[in-house]
């Protein structure tokens, strides 16, 4: 196991370098990093050149990347052009997005798995067809439409919730945004659980469990669920990274000042250091979540042995 972890960590290095480099290139090469500094007008050439020297932007890109990564590993994510430290921005943004992600994951687990189990056991019945159709609709309606509609209905028309979230973003205010963020994944968890249950329901070991004279409840919980939920758990695990990175739309709709908000601002203002810094952390979260999921997989399924 130990050797496997080490090897996986080593494999993560090229992926990490590759994806951060990709983002770094996108931000630096395609955009003009000093363009956003002189307000609405374009900078005059002299000022631009001076600014570039100041930030080391006159050097070749690969050198900039190395310098940046070097700083990064000493915990220095650089400063945004407005002088605020990127780590400070992170300190306020990440807790908010993590809370939002936690709410979303809870929705996926509680609602998604429950619906999946029910439909998987009742395949072909009206409940199954209805839920299946519903999941298709949820998947088809883009998150920003779902978000705007829920905001319109719950926040404006019926006034059950506040249409936008206050800067502190306590858990209570994140319930609707969390549901919106989770919506598509939630539908997938339902479908994945359903498929998995329906497939395993016909498995030989389930038949054995019935032949052993176990009560139906025990057959389902001890034998069917334990096996069927393995792919679901791993899906939810890998979804953590995707949710945090995908929170941009949700955070924009509900005006949540989290990671997505900061990234959006950073991109609009072509704020290189902010964007690269945040993306780097998101990529790390994604990679670590994937590694943990792989290890969790070995725990859940004893047939998998990592060497």
């Amino acid at each position: 196991m130990g050797r496997y972890v080490v090897r996986r960590l080593l494999q993560m290095v090229p992926v990490f370098v590759g994806s951060t480099l990709l983002i770094f290139l996108m931000v630096n090469v395609m955009g003009d990093p000093v363009a956003g500094l002189c307000g609405e007008r374009a900078c005059d050439p002299a000022t631009a050149a001076q600014l570039k020297r100041e930030f080391g932007l006159d050097k070749p890109v690969w050198q900039q990347y190395l310098t940046y990564m070097g700083h990064l590993f000493t915990g220095d994510f650089g400063t945004a052009f407005n002088g605020q430290k990127v780590t400070e921005l992170m300190g306020t943004a990440f807790p908010v997005t993590i809370r939002l992600t936690v709410v979303a994951i809870l929705f996926e687990i509680v609602i998604g798995i429950t619906l999946g189990v029910v439909t998987g056991l009742k395949r072909g019945r009206p409940v199954d067809t209805t839920v299946l159709l519903l999941t298709l609709v949820v998947i088809s309606v883009p998150t920003f439409v779902t978000g705007l509609l829920l905001q319109l209905l719950l926040g404006v028309k019926w006034a059950w919730t506040r249409p936008s979230v206050s800067p502190d973003a306590p858990f209570g205010e994140l319930i609707v945004p969390g549901l919106v963020l989770a919506s598509v994944s939630l539908a997938y968890v339902t479908r994945l659980t359903r498929t998995s249950i329906a497939e395993n329901k016909r498995a030989d070991y389930v038949r054995t469990a019935v032949a052993k004279g176990l009560p139906r409840r025990r057959v389902i919980t001890r034998h069917l669920l334990r096996n069927s939920l393995i792919p679901v758990v791993t899906f939810i695990g890998t979804d953590i990274g995707a949710l945090m990175g995908g929170a941009i739309v949700t955070e924009r709709i509900f005006n949540i000042h989290g990671v997505g908000y900061q990234l959006y601002q950073g991109i609009l203002r072509q704020n290189t250091q902010t964007v690269v810094g945040f993306v780097t952390v998101l990529v790390l979260v994604f990679l670590v979540a994937n590694l943990l999921v792989d290890l969790l997989y070995a725990v859940l399924d004893p047939r998998i042995r990592y060497a």
């Binding site: 992926v15 705007l148 792919p231 990175g245 993306v279 994604f286």
Partner: protein, 337 residues
């Protein structure tokens, strides 16, 4: 790497970082990778000689699937919706006589009026006309992005799966890199600096970030197909690589790619709208549902119709493609019958 390949393969696909719809299209399709071997799903108890219909006529995977699809109302309905969408993309003036760019601020946010069933948006443009014309953008982006992604992804993935070795290892790492970047985020970064206001940058971006998904599917199904006995036999008889790939492997490996591509088409349409909503996809004066939804969201209180009509059109379009893909997958996957 774990010892048991099949489990790892299933997991790896489920674990794509693309976020949203693309993940599960892929993970649900993994069951398909076993399908091309032929309809071998044993019926209850395994009756009679398998793979032979009641009339004793051997059935192929495709004719079997087509027989299923023709009788599937979900398939027929979604195919009908898609045909209609393609039609109004080609000839929007056939059902909407107005000009989508002709707006009258005096009528801003007005409700429906004779000849203007969907009412007016915040700029006083006719919502019906704009919704009809918006279909063209969505269908164009969806179809072209899917074509690009499928061709690019299946060629790269198929070759990697067939030849294996270093090429495969390098490609796998490259796909890992792309999977690690959240898709909306990548779109924001890349497209925020593009000034061209055509569909091409959006399509290019989708191909750039979408191909790894198809490449992974294609790689998996080529590896499965490669292990089939008839491929081994063809190789033993001295067939060339090109011939084996085109004649023996491609027809058997293409089913999962088609299914995932159809479902992905819907998600690309949604993605275009999302990017346009965020202000980096298409920009006015282009006509796109994403732009209209974005423009209508500040007036959500007073003129919800300006938001609801394009949203509804978008949802129905995406739904049609996803349902089509779903129906095709069910028809091609004998295991879940």
């Amino acid at each position: 790497m774990p010892e048991q390949q099949p489990y790892e393969a299933g997991r790896a696909v489920a674990g794509t970082g693309m976020g949203g719809a693309m993940d599960l299209a892929a993970s649900e399709a993994t069951t398909l990778e076993r399908a091309p071997g032929g309809p071998e799903g044993p019926g209850p108890g395994g009756f009679g000689p398998q793979g032979v219909g009641p009339a004793g006529r051997p059935r192929s995977l495709w004719s079997d699937a087509w027989r299923d699809l023709r009788r599937n109302p979900v398939f027929l309905l979604s195919a009908l919706v898609i045909l209609f969408l393609v039609f109004i993309s080609l000839r929007p003036s056939a059902i909407a006589s107005g000009n989508p760019l002709a707006c009258d601020l005096a009528k801003a946010q007005d409700g429906s009026a004779p000849g203007h069933p969907f009412g007016y948006d915040g700029q006083g443009c006719d919502v019906f006309t704009r919704t009809v014309y918006g279909a063209r953008t969505s269908v164009t982006v969806g179809v072209l992005a899917t074509l690009g992604v499928s061709v690019f992804g299946s060629v790269l993935g198929g070759l990697a799966g067939y030849f294996g070795g270093l090429w495969d290892a390098v490609l796998s790492r490259i796909t890992d890199v792309f999977f690690a970047i959240p898709v909306v985020l990548g779109g924001l970064v890349l497209l925020s600096v593009v000034t061209s206001n055509t569909v091409w940058p959006v399509i290019g971006f989708m191909v750039l970030l979408g191909w790894p998904q198809i490449s992974r599917i294609a790689r998996g199904s080529v590896i499965t197909a490669r292990q089939n006995d008839y491929v081994q036999a063809a190789r033993a008889l001295g067939a060339s690589d090109a011939r084996i790939l085109l004649r023996h492997i491609a027809p058997n490996a293409v089913a999962p790619v088609i299914v995932v591509s159809t479902i992905a088409l819907g998600t690309y349409i949604a993605l275009e709208a999302t990017l346009s909503y965020l202000g980096v996809g298409l920009k006015p004066p282009s006509v796109s549902w994403g732009i209209d939804i974005s423009a209508a969201s500040p007036y959500i209180r007073n003129a919800p119709h300006a938001l609801l009509w394009p949203s509804g059109a978008l949802a129905v379009t995406v739904l049609a493609f996803i349902m089509l893909g779903d129906a095709v997958r069910d028809a091609l996957d004998p295991k879940l019958r």
